[in-house]
Symmetry: C2
Subunit: 133 residues, 2 copies
């Protein structure tokens, strides 16, 4: 390995102002938001295609959480890095992050019991919050 070899020029994920804007928008707002909502919230200053691309990247990188609402639309939210689930208000969207060791244990046990490996799961809880009652 020649020491002169440049570090392969690692492609690059550039911190462009658009990407920063999308990330900031997620920081600024609570709850889950669709790509279109973020696009609007930014006053259209960031192209819709770019918003979609950025959100997909962030989600793949694990920096944001992506889930689907009941209509199957993708919605995103800045989340803590640890594994958790959501309790979402059907009416106002207010979201609470919840953890459930019991559930994690249960899913793993059930999966193992049936011979399934590489287990993952999705769990979302929907309801109507106090303020919307």
């Amino acid at each position: 390995m020649t020491s002169t070899e440049p570090q392969a020029q690692q492609s690059g994920v550039r911190p462009t102002k658009q990407r920063l804007a999308v990330a900031a928008a997620l920081e600024a707002t609570a709850g889950f938001h669709s790509a279109q909502e973020i696009h609007e919230q930014l006053g259209g200053s960031v192209g819709l295609a770019t918003v979609y691309r950025t959100l997909t990247m962030l989600a793949d990188a694990g920096d944001v959480d992506m889930m689907r609402n009941e209509d199957g639309e993708a919605i995103y939210r800045r989340c803590s890095g640890t594994h958790h689930h959501h309790l979402v208000c059907r009416s106002c969207g207010h979201t609470v992050e919840v953890e459930g060791p019991a559930v994690e244990r249960w899913t793993n046990a059930i999966a193992a019991e049936h011979g399934y490996a590489d287990v993952s799961h999705t769990l979302e809880i929907f309801g109507t919050c106090r303020d919307c009652r």
Copy 2:
């Protein structure tokens, strides 16, 4: 009350041949299928719109289970009437219905604890089955 009064003529959900065909298609095949797949499986003998309408009805009536694949598309499957969840193989799609009283209890408790009412939830477990390992 005049005896001539017809019993309110209760509209009716007619067991048309199209509806029966869709239901039969679900019976015949294992695993989850999209509306379009069912439409094709029926050789287009049942209009796509009708397939969609029928599946929606069946799902609302609780006769079939609807979930969304990772692309957000709706997929349906004939299921037992009781509330349950699925353990799905990412590779071959083989599905196992699982029940988890503990999970049900946990979600309700968590929701109540945070003041949420009318609670519902979605929980799917993904993994690789023994045959696909």
